[in-house]
Amino acid sequence: MPGEIWMGYLLHHEPSFTVVQSPFTLNGERVFGADSDATTLAVAALLHRLDHDEVSMISVPEGIDGPSLSVATGVALYDHEAEQEAPWEVLMSDEAIVVVSKRDAPVEVPMLEVAIEVEAEFHAAIEQAWDHELSKGHVSQGAYVSRAQYDEAATPRLQLHGQLNGQTVVWPPRFSHVVDGSGSSNMRLQRRGKVLTWTTLSAAGAPSEFSLRAPVLGGVSTVLLQLDDGPNGVFLTVDDEEAILEMEAPMELVFRRLYAQEGFVRYGLKARAIHD
């Protein structure tokens, strides 16, 4: 079974469940890409599900960053003190496979054919870098973005919430428009845009948030996109690979890991070339 490509992952959709798998394999097993984890796969699966069903609440297992998933999708997390079970749940596997399913629905994970074999050395180096970043004592140097500051901008960052100020769409939202009431902040922008310009920064010049992974990846690539709704934004490219980028090319924005510190993964949207 080939599987559909969805946000850079492999997708299989059934009426009662959605399976999202990493396209990368190592020794026959599905492994996460350079900026993916179970949370990023779960977000992709849930966003696809939301195109077909109304999902008001979902329960997530340990290992999924529930608050980030909720902010990224707008779906409420199951409250353990609630009287009723959540109608939807996220299921994880030992491999880089995640399922979003109706509660207690039978799930059969298909064998999907697409497999991009990664080099063991590269995979180990990236995993090691993430482990180091995720240690609680690790704080990248530099213009430190505190957790509070990150959380404050989480909705515009993860849901691409913009602001309609008169006839102009503004993203990220401006506090001045919120304070004076001239801007409405509940506009979710389309996750598509075109490349206005791009660069690949050498590992030595990358911000310290990326200093552990940039040498493994050979630098970091950033695109400046004009979003289909009007505003511009800068985004890292997906999988942190040295992407083949073209001016004016269409790209989509997908949910991925940005970096980690103090034991907390910062997620964000990254740009991925649209090949269809």
Binding site: G142, T199, S202, G205, A206, S208, V234, M247, L258, G268
Partner: protein, 399 residues
């Protein structure tokens, strides 16, 4: 209206009467020693009797990059330069810190609150380990959005360069011409960080820092300090027979993040600041003989030549290609000092360092082989970040 006329009649003119700087580069001294050296050179350059006690106010620009005093830096520095007790403060506007320090000093005199004021800047950058230097990469961009999208300033300016090539008839070769010119000028400047010429071929084939920008498109990491003495018109001629007059001043700001600007191939803050400065000076861009522009990256000089009016929009590449900014070859010499690219870029010191250069150019005091002939007017252009802040000053030999 009567009141306004009264104020205009009493508006003070401001002159630069002294200027000095350390050599830029890997300086053996720390903050205190470098500042003391720059201030001593500035005071010694005043032709008449001058003592530090005359200074009423001081403004010192710095990002506080190095491993030294972070808080109350300015008071520590004045203590080590004989300006005990002076009203001093640190001014921080990223790489435009001392451009704004100079503006503040000018305003202090212009307003009538002070007669003798010092403006300066300083940065110690090479006392840090590579890991600690990384701390500072991108701190003056919109960190929450740009830095977390992997951008530091080489990346930000690389985005601008690629877009510029896309919109206009220009290629990376035009940036190479900027690099070659500024290295040529800097090779003749005893205070420059990099005093050597570079060939077109070498500059074109440099290590890729941020595609399409190579190492030869980027300014070096420099230590340095600069200091200038400003005086009110009624005192200027007591200090020197050849004051350099501040004929125009302008400043502006823009969105911090590149992605929030309608165009990334022009710096609105530069356009606004320079328009104000030209209007105040009563001069047109083509009347500027020598300009020190903020070429932190070669693309920045290409954009600046357009934004400052030396070249038409989209013609900055041609301006560079045809060598119009070379000393004594075009209407306006651009970066006779070597610019940030070759003279160096000790962040906080750069703005007043530019003033040191034009002060000497207008008084015929630079090395003869890089003296701009018959220079009567000059301009300095100091930018913070990727264009979020900008100060422009226009100078003249005559009041």
């Amino acid at each position: 209206m009567k009141c306004l006329v009264l104020v205009q009649e009493h508006m003070v003119d401001v002159a630069v009467v002294g200027a000095g700087q350390t050599k830029y580069g890997n300086h053996p001294l720390g903050l205190k020693g470098m500042w003391a050296e720059a201030a001593a050179k500035a005071f010694a350059s005043v032709d008449g009797d001058f003592v530090a006690d005359l200074v009423e106010e001081a403004y010192i620009g710095s990002l506080a990059f190095g491993g030294s005093q972070l808080g109350n830096t300015a008071a520590l520095l004045t203590e080590h330069s004989g300006m005990d007790g002076v009203a001093v403060r640190r001014v921080e506007n990223a790489c435009a810190s001392s451009g704004f320090a100079f503006r503040d000093a000018w305003m202090a005199i212009k307003s009538g609150q002070a007669d003798v004021v010092v403006a300066g800047g300083i940065e110690k950058m090479n006392d840090l380990t590579p890991e600690r230097k990384r701390y500072w990469l991108g701190v003056s961009g919109d960190t929450e959005w740009e830095r977390l999208a992997g951008l530091t300033f080489p990346g930000t300016y690389a985005l601008m360069a690629r877009r510029y090539f896309h919109e206009f008839d220009s290629t990376h070769d035009d940036l190479v011409h900027v690099s070659v010119k500024n290295h040529l000028h800097g090779s003749k400047n005893a205070d420059a960080h990099i005093q050597k010429e570079v060939s077109f071929e070498k500059a074109a084939g440099g290590f890729m820092v941020a595609d399409p920008l190579t190492l030869y498109d980027c300014c070096p990491t420099s230590d340095g300090a600069s200091c200038v003495v400003l005086a009110a018109d009624h005192l200027a001629h007591k200090f020197t027979d050849t004051p350099v007059w501040v004929k125009g001043a302008g400043a502006a700001s823009d969105n911090l993040a590149l992605h929030d600007r309608p165009s990334i191939t022009q710096l609105k803050a530069t356009q606004v600041a320079s328009s104000k400065a030209y209007a105040m000076a009563g001069l047109e861009p083509r009347q500027i003989d020598v300009a020190e522009v903020h070429d932190c990256f070669t693309i920045a000089e290409v954009l600046a030549t357009e934004d400052l009016g030396f070249a038409q929009r989209g013609e900055g590449g041609r301006f560079a290609r045809e060598g119009e900014g070379r000393i004594n070859e075009g209407t306006t010499t651009v970066n006779s000092s070597g610019g940030l690219k070759s003279k160096g870029h000790p962040l906080g010191a750069t703005g007043t360092g530019q003033v040191v250069e034009v002060f000497k150019q207008l008084r015929g005091q630079v090395e003869p082989n890089r003296q701009v002939r018959d220079a009567e007017t000059a301009l300095t252009h100091n930018v913070g970040g990727s264009g979020a802040t900008c100060s422009v000053h226009v100078f003249g030999r005559h009041r």
